[in-house]
Symmetry: C2
Subunit: 351 residues, 2 copies
Amino acid sequence: MGLGLILTFEQEKTIIRALLRKLGASEKEADATAEVLAEGDLRGLGSHGILRLPYILRGLKRGTIAARAKVKIVRETHATALIDGGHGLGHYVATRAMGLAVEKAKKQGIGAVGVFNSNHFGIAGYYAELAMRENMIGVVTTTTDALVHPWGGVEPLLGTNALAVGIPSEPPVLLDMAMSVAARGKLVDAMKRGERIPEGWAIDSEGKPTTDPAEGLRGALSPFGGAKGYALAFVLELLAGPLVRAGVGRGVKGTLEPVEDFCTKGDFMIAVDPTAFVPLEEFESRVQEFIAEIKKSKKAPGVSEIMIPGEPELKARERALRDGIEISEEVWGELRQIAQELGVDIEKIAA
Amino acid sequence: MGLGLILTFEQEKTIIRALLRKLGASEKEADATAEVLAEGDLRGLGSHGILRLPYILRGLKRGTIAARAKVKIVRETHATALIDGGHGLGHYVATRAMGLAVEKAKKQGIGAVGVFNSNHFGIAGYYAELAMRENMIGVVTTTTDALVHPWGGVEPLLGTNALAVGIPSEPPVLLDMAMSVAARGKLVDAMKRGERIPEGWAIDSEGKPTTDPAEGLRGALSPFGGAKGYALAFVLELLAGPLVRAGVGRGVKGTLEPVEDFCTKGDFMIAVDPTAFVPLEEFESRVQEFIAEIKKSKKAPGVSEIMIPGEPELKARERALRDGIEISEEVWGELRQIAQELGVDIEKIAA
């Protein structure tokens, strides 16, 4: 970082949209993808931001990601649906899926939607927020390529399987986490910088804890929280896998980059209408009281503030909306090259 | 242990039923409570087994737990319901709640039921299993008295908030875990035996990690997995709290023992019918393949078998069904005294 440049939220979205449109994405597909990627960057979750755009553009070129994809409901009840994403842009398909879950929850109190034949969708928390905007609780899980070892095992057999839970309230509560202690991208970064990683992040291919990021990348990421995190990753793998006709374990491919074939990940989303249980005012005011109790409680030595889930990311978002999003030289260079090939002047948009 | 006695599963249930019936519980209430407590003991989760019966019997005597409770649905849609448990036996109320969730899931594909005015319900996994028996996925969460500190905080403000997720398959997959690294009961046991606890289990009242169980009990339990476990405990606290008209944070009382007043915990349960998404055979066979892949994968040094979620408990259950359930002298002594007062000859049942 540092030698790259600063984009505003709108500039970043404009660039993403322009490049996607050149490769045949519809306006809605381009808008959804731009929105979610830029939201990732705003929150400091750069590994799910514009960094991923080159992968997406390569997928569109190869045809492993479909532009103007046919998104179809293949099975449906009043409260549930299974969606075939037609290999479309994951952000757009997932936006449609949560929209449908919310629509069902408005009528039935709860709605659950599964997705297969889709692609990496960026930050899971975004879709929980789509539910929160409609005063709904949103629950989102998704699978990734197998990167995490089972507890007691050595081989990467489970995805990092993000889980997001959003609670509509002011301030909002938004859990958004992966099942690994650390993201794969952090190991890649450490390797590039020639740094060690903390013990506990990964094991080598023999199953021994390692502080060498290269060894960790050849081995497997460790689940957070030991056996408990493993168990949680396991059940999420089944919910966003076999339940929704998506891949499972080593069968999940293409979330890092859909190089050879279509991506086989899956999503599972639930929207819950709090008013099916209690009046919204009662719910929100009691959530607020709890947040206030946590925030004002005694802090551990050296801690200046107790955060509620999602608060660090939303603070980063406010800063980035004001100060702009820093794009690394490496990412900008890659984007500029692709943009040139596509005949889009992204320098002009960034100016 | 060792100086106590051995009960069969049926003997334990007969004793529990007899004592509950003497204090006015209906046959169904007594049956459900006996079933869940004895299942806890079978699985080696003794802190949720017959150990808790004296607390329950004292609650029934005092009236803080209601016998022949009026369990009412106070709000309902086709796919959701909110249940007022009438301060009844938690095991019975929760059994009813999951039954209703399953009934709704059979019609709508998914059903969600919240519970307030209920009591400690034993092992959360049991209710997920009720769903699994009907080929449904079961999700269960419940709150407890505030025992866990927020990440960066010192005060116990969150429950241990069990989360259970059951996936119908052969073998079954059953995640059942609390949000604390270790159960409160393990600190109590260590204190009685004069032993230290591992660092990471608890903090003292100043917020410093402690290996002294007494200090830990005066302080707070630590969430598993650091900030991630805290965030998960936080959202479960809201789902099984404000969403279902139950207490939240320090407002949750009576799960250790309903001494002074009614218990204010809450439950939130979801049943999902896999066939709303994919045919059951497809789902089960793909789950089985994944389990097989995990089981046969390479083991870490010193590990003889990789377990799937729920497997250790189900192995313990098989052993206990065969060899019996060991009841400690302390627990048996307490039960014998209560039984004498109630005029029930539990020695005869145990013979």
